[in-house]
C-alpha cells in the first residue's frame, strides 16, 4: 500500500528531501571530467620545463582558458558533492556535521572563484 500523498509523488523528493539531485549531479560532473582531466594532464605534462611566459601564453588562449574554467567548475562541484557524502557517512553529531559541510562548501567556492579570477586575469 502506498502511503504517499499525491504532491509527495509529484515532487519525488523522498525522505531525504533532496531526491536524486545529488547523485545525478555527481554523475553529470563525472562524465564531463573524463575528457577535461585527459585534456588537462595532456597539456600540463608538456609544460613541465616551460618558463613563466610560455605557460601564461598557453593559458591566455581562449580554448585553454575556457577548458580550464570548465575543468575547475566541474572538478570543484564534483569535489564538494564527494566530500559532502563523506561527512554524511562518518560525522554523526549535528553541530560538527553542519560546520564541516559549511567549511567544504565555502572552501570549494573560494577555490573556484580564485581560480576563475586568475584565469580571466591572464586571458582577458
Amino acid at each position: 500500500m502506498d502511503m504517499r500523498t499525491p504532491i509527495s509523488k509529484v515532487r519525488g523528493l523522498g525522505s531525504a528531501k533532496s531526491g536524486t539531485g545529488h547523485v545525478w549531479m555527481q554523475r553529470v560532473t563525472a562524465v564531463a571530467l573524463v575528457p577535461l582531466v585527459i585534456w588537462f594532464v595532456a597539456s600540463v605534462v608538456q609544460m613541465t620545463t616551460a618558463d613563466y611566459f610560455t605557460v601564461r601564453a598557453w593559458l591566455a588562449s581562449p580554448v585553454s582558458a575556457i577548458l580550464m574554467i570548465l575543468f575547475i567548475v566541474a572538478g570543484l562541484y564534483h569535489l564538494r558533492l564527494g566530500l559532502q557524502v563523506i561527512v554524511e557517512d562518518y560525522i554523526h553529531t549535528r553541530g560538527m556535521k553542519v560546520a564541516l559541510e559549511l567549511l567544504i562548501l565555502y572552501g570549494c567556492i573560494i577555490i573556484t572563484v580564485a581560480a576563475i579570477f586568475s584565469i580571466l586575469k591572464i586571458a582577458l
Binding site: 613563466y52 580564485a114 579570477f117 586568475s118 584565469i119
Partner: protein
C-alpha cells in the same frame, strides 16, 4: 543525544579482503587526496596570474624532492580515481556488476592507473616528445 546500544551492521574487519574492497576505499581516499591536490592547482593558477616571481617560487617547490613526490602521488591518485570512476559509470548503467567481471576490471583499473601515471611522467620528463 541519548546513546542507544542498537546492533550495528558488519564493518571492515568482518569482510574478506579483495580488490573491489581495496578499490572502493582507495576511490574515496584518492577523492580526498585530489581535494588537497586542487589546492596545488589553484596555487599554480594564482601564481601564474600574480607574476614571474611567484611562479618561480611555485616551480622551486614543485621541483624539490618533496614536490616531485607530491606531484607523483597527485598523478597516481588522479589516474586511479579516473579509471575507477569510469568503471563506476558502467556500474551505474548496470554493466559489469558480476563477480568475475569485477575481478577482471579490478586489474584493469590498477593497470590503467600505472600505465597512465608512467605515461604522464615519461612525457613530463621529456622521455617522450609531445603527445
Amino acid at each position: 543525544m541519548a546513546i542507544t546500544k542498537r546492533p550495528t551492521s558488519p564493518h571492515l574487519q568482518i569482510y574478506k579482503w579483495g580488490g573491489h574492497m581495496l578499490l572502493s576505499i582507495l576511490h574515496r581516499a584518492t577523492g580526498v587526496a585530489l581535494g588537497a591536490g586542487t589546492l596545488l592547482l589553484v596555487w599554480w593558477l594564482v601564481a601564474l596570474a600574480t607574476g614571474p616571481d611567484d611562479y618561480a617560487l611555485f616551480q622551486t617547490y614543485m621541483r624539490s624532492i618533496v614536490g616531485k613526490i607530491v606531484l607523483l602521488g597527485f598523478t597516481a591518485a588522479l589516474m586511479l580515481h579516473l579509471c575507477n570512476g569510469i568503471r563506476h559509470l558502467f556500474w551505474d548503467k548496470g554493466l559489469g556488476l558480476d563477480v568475475e567481471t569485477t575481478q577482471r576490471t579490478n586489474i584493469l583499473v590498477f593497470l590503467g592507473m600505472i600505465i597512465l601515471t608512467l605515461l604522464s611522467w615519461a612525457i613530463g620528463y621529456g622521455l617522450v616528445q609531445g603527445v
